[in-house]
Amino acid sequence: MNQNSKVKLNEIFTSIKAEAETRLKDISGDNSQNIFIGMATCGRASGAVEVKATFEEALIERKINAHIIPVGCLGHCYGEPLVIIDKPGFPPILYQNVTPGKARLLVKAYLEEGDPVFEHVLGAMEENDMIPAVMEFPRFNQEKRVVMANCGLINPEDIYQYIAKGGYSALVKALALEPEKIINEIQESGLRGRGGAGFLTGMKWQVVQDSEEKDKIVICNADEGDPGAYMDRTILESNPHQVIEGMAITAYAVGANRAIVYVRAEYPLAVEMIKKAIGQAKEIKLSGEGILGTNFNLDIAVFQGSGAFVCGEETALIQSIQGKRGMPQLRPPYPAQRGLWGKPTVINNVKTLASLPPIFENGAKWFRGIGTDKSPGTAIFSVVGNIVHAGLVEIPMGVTLRALIFDICGGIPNGKKFKAVQIGGPSGGCLPDDFLDTPIDFDSLNQAGAMMGSGGMVVMDEDACMIDVARYFLDFTQKESCGKCTFCRIGTKHLLDILDRITKGEGREGDIELLEDLSMDIKNGSLCGLGKTAPNPVLTTVKYFRDEYEAHIREKRCPAMMCRTLTAYFIDLDKCARGCDACVGSCPTEAIFTTKNRKKGIDQTLCVKCGECMVSCPPEYDAVRKVSPPELAPKIERPKEE
């Protein structure tokens, strides 16, 4: 391919950029007020749609002129719905947990009367003398936003907002280079695939570029199946254009003219956003035919995955696009050699593709400067579970787990103790507090027995039962096993059965060893990553929490009091208040009765152990107790009805 003329490219792009800047001025001129509302899935779930409607109403009612700009997700899920208000004379201010009531208040007090309502402020988005800036909080300043730099700050439905923030200029730079140079740059940057395995992106590309086949395909893998990870969805919903730009760079580098975004159908908003974005990019010649006046064409299509975890594996993903069951295939040939419809195919994760524009914008050296030597760049985690500041966190590789969990995310709520962190979803492992100083990168996590995987991170406090957690993930992988390999299909079922009986108090001597043996067999006897990693949650919990397994098996006791067959609730009659009925109404099965002296008792045969009575018991009495094993609960007879 001839090198595209740099001058001509720049000329065309300058006119697009000028258009973007004029449009930006229209909405954020000197005197205009802007209200940015986080409208990604998490924001909507917390009520952002109602908040937006209230803002609209209130602005009309009070005859105030302001733009409402729906934006994506900032990743600070604990504070949703989040709203940023930019008013002249003030720094842009971020408000958290905005309800329709707060929205009305903000319009009246802040926009009309100029009082920023300090009690609802999370922080200012810029340094100033009036309000503490969010950058003073560890949750903001210890993050390093490369992939998510613009998420939550721009309207994902407007391509010009991305361009005004410097978007698509990396594509312009790349198009002026020879494809070989691009691949060199990526190899120099040391970028590793963000899908979990951490394969070198540049090497994958090289194979596809070297292929003599003319028709090549790029696939963006957004089949995020880990139950607990949602960064790919957030990126597609908040800044789809960065992914499209990354795809265009990839396609140009390897010589592909077709691209497919494979996104889960369970993410309807992400599907809508990416489809809209592709249309917009095509309109102004940033995709489609003759991109930016060159002879480079790229047709981008969207394929919706139908909800099979295994389809995140590249060969299974290809099978499903071809209308078959998503079953992994033997490699080699790798998809880079023979992939979709037999053509050489690059499959990259959303985060990998979204990392490309910043790399080209700032150079491979800059990228190498972030993170560690072997794992350059940033990692995005969805930190959830028993954690104060849950949400998406983008950090440089090499930060320790302790810094991420305690410094950045605020630690464990309600004064409880940290017990374990589960990293990498169903393929990852549970690490206890001894590993808190492990740096987060591909190799260190693998060594510890967990893995980077999808970036799902579930923090658990002292009330979590490790066997129950292992059982949960096994239940998931067992259902999702495609059935091709016997060890995965039948082995995971047996693992699950054993774990099931342990949590029910029917564990036997030798079960732990059996779990270990079976786990190793499944790892060795499975073709794809699903089977090879499915036993990880079991292996790590057996390794680090063996005493808990022993307590379940030998003493029929759940130390965390989580396994419901092994626990019982009872009411402490010394504490229970005579005549109080708080727990009775809360019980879904009418298991609570009144004793002869008008206190309460629990009928163990009816109790389903949901814990509602414990929640509803007024704290001044605090009379509901939980014990394991259940035999410890005192027997209180229900008085015979007279």
């Binding site: 899920c77 394929f303 139908s306 209308g323 069951r325 998503g326 589960q422 579930v458 658990m460």
Partner: protein, 176 residues
């Protein structure tokens, strides 16, 4: 009643036939076709699957094999109110299975089933991505965060009251 059901079925099949014509006849269209049918008609009936097989010149059992492989597809009509209980990791840690159990007990059906009056159906979903609100349930596209067993009762009671009210109003307008 039988009569209207037949008319309905016929209308559905005609519609599916028209959907089919908009797709290419290659195997690659199979999953998009199934998705489109489910989107419009809420489920894939046996007759619909047979029509797809005929259109793509595949055997019906192969179409069925692909459709049942994926979690997205359902083969029975859902209830008027679709309840989806999230059992993602964060929801599990915070007691999502207790919420599911409460829905099952309250409606007297198991997960994956529809109540005999076709009012409610219960499904489990793996993570809807609102982990900070765990445990989460979704009813008819509305996400309810921080679920609790008592909230389950309240939600279902709310739907039942709504239904009663509709009935009363219908009666009222009929008598007028």
């Amino acid at each position: 009643m039988q009569h209207t059901a037949e008319i309905e079925e016929e209308a559905t099949l005609t519609d599916i036939a028209s959907i089919l014509t908009t797709f290419e006849k290659g195997r690659g269209s199979l999953i998009p076709i199934l998705q489109m049918i489910q989107e419009k008609h809420k489920y894939l009936s046996a007759l619909a699957l047979q029509m797809v097989a005929k259109h793509l010149k595949m055997s019906a059992c192969e179409v069925y094999g692909v459709a049942t492989f994926y979690n997205q597809f359902r083969f029975y009509p859902p209830g008027k109110h679709q309840i989806k209980v999230c059992l993602g990791t964060a929801c599990h840690v915070r007691g999502g299975d207790i919420i599911l159990e409460n829905f099952e007990r309250k409606l007297e059906i198991n997960v994956g089933e529809t109540t005999p009056d076709r009012e409610f159906s219960i499904d489990r979903v793996a993570c809807v991505g609102c982990c900070a609100l765990a445990p989460v349930s979704i009813i008819d596209d509305t996400v309810y965060g921080h679920m609790a067993p008592s909230k389950v009762e309240g939600l279902i009671l709310g739907f039942e009251i709504e239904k009663e009210r509709e009935k009363r109003e219908k009666k009222k307008s009929e008598s007028e």
